[in-house]
Amino acid sequence: MSHISPKRTYYTIFALLMGLTVLTVFAAFNHLGVFNFPVAIGIAITKATLVILFFMHAKYSSQLTKLFVGMSFFFLLILFALTMTDYLSRGLKTYPGGAAGAGYGVRRAEAVHEPAATEERQEGEKH
């Protein structure tokens, strides 16, 4: 009725998953600096992809099912990306010297006022 994978496929995928598990433990005990996290996540995503495609038969599923599979991770990325965009940007300085340097707050009122005062003075001199 639906696709039947040969036994060899399952054993091969299992061997790959085992190999990747050994690799991720090995990588964890080596100092890779900032790359430790991306390597661990990269290996986990690779393992999950193998399970989804071959154990869960997503590779042989209909286009609509594939769309649903992709959709779950698409929404997961939205959840991570938008939440982190908010939290990580809260302390960001948007201008050299921070918010004050950008001319917000009390200083801004002065900055806006000064040119207007100069203009008035110039106009006064003309008269």
Binding site: S5, I13, T21, F29, N36, F55
Partner: protein, 232 residues
């Protein structure tokens, strides 16, 4: 539709189609496709269910990086790795169980399912001893949580780490228990000869669920046990 002759005379009879084909489906193929899609839709909600916890993990890890590193080193990497192997092994036996039901080998289906259940139980037993160890070392949030030694100053954020550790692995373990119950029913049905190469939908849908639970662990293992091992 006005042409009555175009509709097979026995469209609503029971004699000529598979007993497991429900009336609102045209064919077993269509019924199988609908079940697969529905199961995946459920799994999408599950991904986002766990996703909220992964989101919390990610944010607190950024905020309390040192506590995360310290907490991660408190976990037993050997037990974590052993359980990873056990769970991936159970995914293999599950995939083989589905294959056996597809090809119509009743005895093989039952045996592979029993193997899957045995591995699932092994995982839960190991997890039980890991949890027990955390109680002994006062690493359970809310139960006299203590951190001694170099990281005593990180006790607050480390309690958050262990809160997430218990929530994520606990929710995962709950899924394992539910999966175990599901497998018991499927194994019984397989034993009774309820499945055939034409209809094995429950085996395959339980398989999808089981593999999903495996995937959650594939992410939990590096995030909780491995990441930050070498930092500092």
């Amino acid at each position: 539709m006005s042409d009555a002759a175009a509709i097979p005379a026995d469209a609503h009879g029971h004699g000529h189609h598979h007993p497991d084909l429900q009336h609102h489906f045209d064919s077993l193929q269509q019924q199988h496709e609908a079940a697969t899609l529905g199961m995946w839709l459920f799994l999408v909600t599950e991904v986002l269910f766990f996703g909220g916890l992964f989101m919390a993990y990610l944010l607190y890890r950024v905020w309390y990086h040192e506590a995360w590193a310290a907490g991660s080193r408190e976990l037993d990497i050997r037990l974590g790795a052993f359980n990873t192997i056990v769970l991936i092994g159970s995914s293999l036996t599950m995939a083989m169980a589905v294959r056996s039901s597809q090809t119509g080998y009743r005895k093989a289906t039952v045996n592979w399912l029993l193997g899957t259940m045995a591995l699932g139980l092994t995982f839960l037993v190991v997890k039980f001893f890991e949890y027990k160890d955390k109680f002994v070392h006062h690493h359970v949030p809310g139960f006299d949580f203590q951190v001694t030694g170099d990281h005593a100053g990180l006790a607050g954020p480390m309690e958050i780490f262990f809160s997430l550790y218990f929530t994520m692995t606990g929710l995962h373990a709950l899924h394992m228990v539910i999966g175990f119950g599901l497998m018991s029913v499927i194994t019984w049905m397989a034993y009774k000869g309820r499945f055939s190469p034409q209809w094995y939908t429950p085996v395959e849908m339980s398989g999808l669920y089981w593999h999903f639970v495996d995937i959650v662990w594939i992410f939990l293992f590096p995030l909780l046990y491995l990441v930050d091992r070498t930092s500092q």
